[in-house]
């Protein structure tokens, strides 16, 4: 993009304190890792400020000073953190060089409107920093888990070896534990049994309910809707307590009167409970898609002799499919993540993954939980990416532009 505003050099009295502040921020981390945060702050600020003077007053050559900066800071990285420090150091060197020139040459104003005041320019970049920070705070808790899951120790701690990127500080043993430990495997299997079946039930019942409730002639449909959605609104712990007593009776009857095996009844109880929790999500998403559904299409289908069932599967279903799928995804994730209801309704044979993680966190703080979390995050990302790609593909096929 072409420059909007003519730029001019800025005084060093403005450039140096700003870059020094960034240097101090980085110095804080390096200093803390090496024993003294305060020394790190002061040294970081001083080094970056001196570098700034050197670049713009002594060397006066942007290309040359860039390489000096990259190599120089990479050497410092080597000194503090060994080989891996070189990469981080080089990145930091590049960044400080870029920052110094960006400020010194006044490039930060180039793409902004010429009449903005200094305050407005500051706000422009502060606003972007805040947005970035929000993003970082949302994402970091998830990202932090990933390196920790490769910890060679049995604690949730970044060991000095890990910070030095020393291979001895990393290990796959928590992943191995997950794949070989019976308890984890059993709970993983249980989750894979319970969540899909609960999803199928939620999607079938939820879709039918949504279609029924979208007909204007259904009496009291608002009240019915409110009741069906209530599991989403009532605090989970209350639904769970109610379900515990409700399903205990049903379970006793299934076991006692019908003589079904205890284990099977256990699964039925948890699956039904999870299906109930998933239904509201399906109803809401399908109802939302039905708003845009043209009911004259069903009448046209009926006109041509299609039975209501055929009409549903051949005409209505393909059109509301995106809503059904996203409702199904929500229902699946609700069941897959659910810990409260299964703690109440399930017995140990139905222990699901979240339950196992919950007890694991309380009883042993084992990084296996982090390994599982990492695997689940990767699976969720892949799942969502696949669904999104399929959606775009089908829209492309139908000649709509992806939104």
């Amino acid at each position: 993009m072409a420059s909007l505003t003519p730029i001019s050099r800025k005084p060093l009295s403005f450039v140096l304190p700003t870059t020094a502040a960034f240097g101090a921020f980085l110095g804080l981390f390096v200093g803390t890792a090496n024993g003294s945060g305060l020394t790190g702050i002061l040294a970081g600020a001083a080094i970056v400020a001196v570098m700034g003077i050197l670049f713009v007053s002594v060397i006066r050559n942007e290309g040359l000073s860039k390489w000096i900066s990259i190599v120089g800071v990479a050497m410092m990285g080597l000194f503090f953190a060994g080989l891996p420090g070189i990469i981080l150091g080089a990145l930091a060197g590049w960044f400080f060089h870029w920052l110094t020139y960006w400020l010194y040459e006044g490039r930060y104003r180039a793409k902004l409107l010429p009449y903005l005041t200094s305050g407005q320019v500051l706000w422009h970049y502060t606003f972007r920093t805040i947005c970035g920070a929000i993003f970082v705070f949302l994402i970091t808790p998830i990202l932090v888990v990933m390196p920790l899951s490769f910890n060679a120790q049995d604690f949730f701690t970044f060991t000095p070896e890990m910070l030095r990127l020393d291979p001895a500080g990393y290990s796959l043993k928590h992943y191995q534990d997950f794949f070989t430990n019976n308890e984890w495997q059993r709970s993983f299997k249980n989750s894979l049994i319970i969540a899909p079946i609960a999803t199928v039930i939620s999607v079938s019942l939820g879709t039918l309910a949504a279609i029924g409730l979208s007909q204007s002639h259904v009496p009291g449909r608002r009240a019915i809707m409110a009741i069906l959605i209530s599991p989403m609104i009532v605090p989970l712990i209350i639904s769970a307590t109610g379900m515990f007593f409700f399903y205990s009776d049903i379970g006793n009857w299934l076991e006692g009167t019908l003589g079904l095996p205890k284990n099977f009844v256990g699964y039925v109880k948890v699956i039904l409970a999870h299906a109930v929790l998933g239904i509201p999500f399906v109803i809401i998403t399908v109802t939302a898609t039905l708003v845009g559904f043209d009911h004259s299409l069903t009448r046209a289908a009926a006109n041509m002799g299609a039975s209501p069932v055929t009409t549903f599967f051949r005409v209505q279903m393909p059109l509301i499919l995106p809503g059904v799928i996203s409702g199904g995804l929500f229902a699946f994730i609700t069941s897959f993540d659910e810990v409260v209801v299964v703690l109440f309704v399930g017995s140990a044979s139905q222990k699901t993954l979240p339950w196992q993680m919950f007890t694991g966190l309380r009883e042993q703080i084992s990084p296996t939980i982090l390994a599982v979390a990492t695997i689940l995050v990767v699976i969720s990302v892949l799942l969502l990416a696949t669904v999104e790609m399929l959606r775009r593909r089908s829209e492309r096929l139908r000649g709509m532009s992806p939104t």
């Binding site: 701690t157 039930i201 007890t359 009883e363």
Partner: protein
């Protein structure tokens, strides 16, 4: 519809074989402790009888869950591992079955009856003791300065040992330690603690370190805090500290001084069907005999509850180190121990709990 039917068929196929084999649910605490039970009791028992054992790590909520199960008329647990205080409560409420030690528990190899072998540790009619554990302090050897603490009062001495310490978020043990370090004689601690002035005195002592305390509620918290270096010392169960020191090789050492002994053991829930009751009793008979109790000490550093098991305690199964010196009951470690008073806490727990929580919130 087709998918659903297939899915149901799949579940049935997965579930059915498990339902045919005999199965029992044993509730315990999880972590290294459950693992030690798995290896010392569950695996040999399954091998001997073919019964599948399912672990439920719900001992922390055992009392509440047993109450709910009893109300719903659907007790799904067969054998439950609880601390002695919980066993006493469950027994009083009629939620646990009474045990006759002479007919339901194995005699010692030399013929001593189970009642004599367990001795004083049979603190309730429903309770089958399994281990003696202690709550004691661990400290970071690299963070406490040149003189390592040897005395419980180091916990209250923030001048000599500056830094955070972790204490359990409940009055039990903390109040006793506070009084001990406030100059109350060991034998008088519970007499003093029974009076409101004594309780205030203990809280006043705790108040002097309140700003330096991180409160824990799960046994795994203190090991994590010690490993992080977030605290310089902290109380937890001695077996947890053993694993931090010997298995995880952290720079941590034990402060055995004024360790508080407590018991942990089995109960069988009341109201099981005859068939399940028979199996639970068979398991208990097997798992609490002299050899099994000694076997458990190969995997975790808790003292076996039978007198006859003590001489059989050997080396750690994986690390090959002698286990006896790591037992809380070892004479070297038990030079100064503190006896937990079940009756006192049964009577005063609610009052002191309320006071303690109010103090915490201040």
């Amino acid at each position: 519809m087709k998918t659903k039917l297939t899915a149901l068929a799949v579940t049935t196929a997965l579930v059915a074989p498990a339902a045919i084999a005999e199965e029992m649910t044993i509730v315990s605490w999880g972590g290294a402790y459950s693992k030690s039970q798995l290896r010392a009791y569950h695996e040999p028992y399954s091998e001997k009888t073919g019964v599948t054992i399912i672990n439920d790590d719900s001992s922390a909520e055992a009392v509440a869950k047993l109450r709910a199960m009893d109300e719903a008329g659907n007790v799904t647990w067969d054998v439950v591992d609880v601390v002695a205080a919980d066993a006493i409560r469950l027994c009083d409420e009629g939620l646990a079955m009474e045990i006759d030690p002479d007919t339901m528990l194995a005699a010692a190899p030399d013929g001593t009856s189970a009642a004599d072998d367990f001795g004083d540790l049979l603190v309730s009619e429903c309770f089958i003791p399994q281990i003696v554990y202690s709550t004691t302090f661990g400290y970071r050897t690299d963070l406490v300065g040149d003189t390592a603490p040897t005395d419980i009062c180091a916990v209250f001495d923030t001048d000599a040992y500056p830094g955070k310490r972790s204490l359990e978020k409940r009055p039990i043990n903390n109040m006793e330690w506070a009084l001990l370090c406030d100059g109350v004689a060991k034998d008088d601690v519970y007499d003093v603690l029974a009076t409101p002035e004594g309780q205030d005195k203990a809280l006043a002592k705790l108040d002097t370190i309140k700003d330096d305390v991180i409160w824990w509620s799960a046994g795994a918290d203190t090991p994590q805090l010690l490993a992080d270096g977030e605290v310089i010392m902290g109380s937890t169960y001695n077996g947890r500290l053993f694993s931090v020191i010997e298995e995880q090789k952290q720079p941590v050492a034990m402060l055995w001084d004024a360790q508080v002994f407590d018991l942990d053991g089995w109960i069988i829930p009341a109201g099981l069907s005859d068939e399940r009751k028979k199996r639970a009793l068979d398991y208990i008979m097997f798992a609490t005999d002299t050899q099994r109790l000694a076997d458990q000490a190969k995997y975790i550093s808790y003292g076996p509850a039978r007198k006859s098991s003590a001489p059989l305690v050997g080396k750690h199964a994986d690390m090959g180190i002698e286990m006896a010196p790591h037992m809380p009951t070892d004479p070297e470690n038990a030079k100064n121990t503190f006896l937990y008073n079940y009756e006192f806490w049964a009577d005063y727990r609610d009052d002191i709990d309320a006071k303690f929580q109010a103090w915490l919130a201040k």
